[in-house]
Amino acid sequence: MTAVDTPLLRVRGWVSRRRPWFLAALGLAAIVWPYLASAIKPFYLSLTIDILIFAIFAMSLDLLLGYTGLPSFGHAAFFGLGAYVLAYIASRSDLALNLTSNLLVTLPVVMLVTAVVALIIGFFALRTSGIYFLMITLAFAQMLFSIAIRWSGVTGGSDGLPGVARPTVGVGPLSYSFGSRTSFYFLVLLFFVGSYWALRRIVNSPFGWTLRGIRENEHRMQALGVRTFRYKMAAFAISGAFGGLAGMLFAYYLRGASPEMLHWSTSGEVLIMLIIGGPGTLIGPMLGAGIIRGFSLLISSYTERWETLMGLLFIAFVLYAPQGIVGMLRQKEKEPDG
């Protein structure tokens, strides 16, 4: 790339030269935020938690759609499954086990179960591609949805499984309960940063570059001797596990699991977050999650016609930021006069 001078590049340069300071400021803001929000607008704190959870969910799908080129329309399967597995372990409902709410147990169990289920679904779904893949993943998610409704002796049916205890961590006297909203915020923030860090490492590893290769040209990768099916399976499992993590956090937050978490509209919502933010960037899906959740939960307090506004927002994105927010920023970089 030739050296062009644009305001955006200048800002980027300025930020990257002061990266440690910038990160420190961001970190400080993240730490101060719950106290600030509680004092001024308490709802904004719960909104932030909501957005952070959906950001994890959206990033997990990005590994599939953005980096491996697999458009899943059934990602709610893992989100909902994570929520139900947690609820089944940690709810005090008669239907559930009511074992423990300790993250040392629930976290590995949830991520393991969702990864295994992702492997099973992936094993079948990965035999198709493109729109057929989109629809077969939808089919699996909808099957889980109808199981959640039907198998009411275990799942609580349409009411879901309420009564999940607050998360705890630790052993015996050394355990801590995330009772307050502020402490729960920090828990979610920790998982959010951890997930971003882990997924970033994954996509920038040789494994991640192989996934990108599959996205660009699967046949060429196969010709190079890469067993692409195994890579795609691995991507599916990792993506499913992080989706399950997000679902688990959401069930902790809402104190229960409900069938809506498995519904296709949840899959659609996270897909839209990705498209709006820009797939294949990890940061983009985060921003997308913020825009969609923030916009829909805030604007509906002011007008009953919020769905129309949402639709107009989507169309505006198609017209002005067709590659998503991150894509738009990069585009401007490449074509300084565009």
Binding site: S46, D50, D159, G160, P162, G256, P259, T303
Partner: protein, 409 residues
């Protein structure tokens, strides 16, 4: 980026979008008047958590209209303080409902919350209101567990429980219509509540349920395939519980396939309520149902209420409006009893069982055990009355109250 060839320019689009947005934001909305409540002075704020989008919007709007009508009638004042509302759209999504509850309770600091249409939403909100010790007056959702094993001192209902209508119907059906029944309900919690409630009293009265049909939920789709099984069942009667779109398609298919008039159709009253009757048309004629209200209930309170509602909103009241109206009255009388002091939630709860009045639905009071109404249950039949379809009251079954446990279905 070369997209300027055809069509509207971006500026035009923005103008259009902006204009639409501005027009909508300017539309009159109850939520415009926001103020901090809590304590003993200044206006009392009441949060309304109701669905305003999709099919449940009908219920949300009826309840909202009637509750505001009641407070307008009493001058928007209770317990010596001004009363204000903040409306929030729950959609039918438990997660959205919970976020909106947090906003109302923690940010808007409302003194209490009223509303809730869907049972699934209520079940998911239960812990939030219980843990935060915030008073929730439920104006519709009938999930049985909220009056039973999941009872919370902070959640009271002015509507009904899902046990009331089916239990009232069962005994009467066995004695008056026939002793073998087929049941058709949607496959979800309220459907199950209807199965157990009806079966209990039907079998106590010597009847036998020979077929239970659980149809897909949330989207039933075309009910035609269910008709043959009902026709072939050999039952003396069909008991059923559907609402919204499913209520209309089911009743129409029942008639289209010639079951109407051949096999008596009994139902929980919501299935043939005023909100769906016009769409069902003559297919609904003769359907008998049980409910805690009827449009044609001939009492001074009901006639007055119907007329006021009609004049104000230019449409007929339905049972949801009655529930909203009574919710308003319960809240107002409670606030009067505590003299406008909303700082002590226990004091507010303590006065609730003492509230009783003549409602459009008949004598109304709150039962301290089930935390749901003591109210009459009516047997109704859809008839053509002066060119309009309405539910004619055939019999008043008298007072019913939820047992507060699962002993009676």
């Amino acid at each position: 980026m070369n997209q300027k060839k055809s069509g509207v320019s971006r500026r035009d689009f923005l103008k259009l979008a902006g204009g639409t947005a501005a027009a909508m934001l300017a539309a009159p909305s109850l939520s415009a008047c926001q103020a901090l409540g809590g304590g003993t002075s200044g206006p009392i704020t009441i949060g309304l958590l109701l669905p305003y989008s999709d099919i449940y919007a009908v219920l949300g709007e009826s309840i909202t209209d009637a509750i505001t009508m009641y407070f307008d009638e009493i001058g928007n004042e209770a317990g010596g303080r001004e009363v204000q509302f903040i409306q929030e759209d729950t959609e039918i999504a438990p997660d959205v409902a919970q976020q909106k509850a947090i906003k109302l309770v923690e940010q808007d600091e409302v003194d209490l919350v009223a509303g809730i249409v869907s049972s699934g939403v209520l079940m998911n909100l239960r812990d939030y209101f219980h843990d935060n010790q915030k008073l929730l007056i439920v104006a519709n959702a009938g999930a049985n567990p909220i009056s039973r094993d999941l009872k919370s001192p902070y959640i009271w209902r002015t509507s009904f429980t899902n046990w009331m209508a089916p239990y009232s119907m069962g005994g009467w059906a066995a004695e008056n219509v026939g002793t073998s029944a087929a049941i058709s309900v949607p496959d979800y919690a309220a459907g199950e509540n209807n199965i157990t409630g009806f079966t209990q009293s039907f079998e106590e009265a010597g009847g036998e349920v020979i077929l239970v049909q659980r149809t897909p939920f949330p989207n039933m789709g075309d009910p035609a395939p269910f008709m043959a099984e009902l026709a072939d069942s050999g039952a003396d009667l069909v008991y059923s519980f559907y609402s919204g779109g499913a209520a209309v398609t089911f009743v129409q298919a029942y008639s289209d396939f010639g079951l109407h008039g051949q096999l008596p159709l009994l139902a929980a009253g919501f299935m043939v309520e005023e909100d769906v009757l016009p769409a069902q048309g003559e297919a609904a004629l003769g359907v008998r149902s049980t409910l805690h209200w009827s449009y044609l209930l001939d009492t001074p309170e009901n006639n007055e209420f119907k007329q006021a509602f009609r004049e104000r909103y230019e449409r007929d009241a339905d049972v949801f409006a009655v529930q909203g109206y009574d919710t308003g009255r319960v809240i107002a009388e409670m606030l009067d009893a505590v003299e406008g002091d909303t700082s002590d939630v226990q004091a507010m709860i303590d006065v609730l069982p003492d509230i009783s009045f003549a409602s459009p639905r008949g004598p109304f009071s709150l039962d301290a055990n089930s935390q749901a109404p003591r109210q009459n249950e009516y047997l109704r039949e859809v008839q053509m009355v002066e060119g309009e379809l309405h539910n004619v009251v055939i019999e008043n079954f008298g007072e019913i109250v939820d047992p507060g446990d699962n002993s009676q279905g």
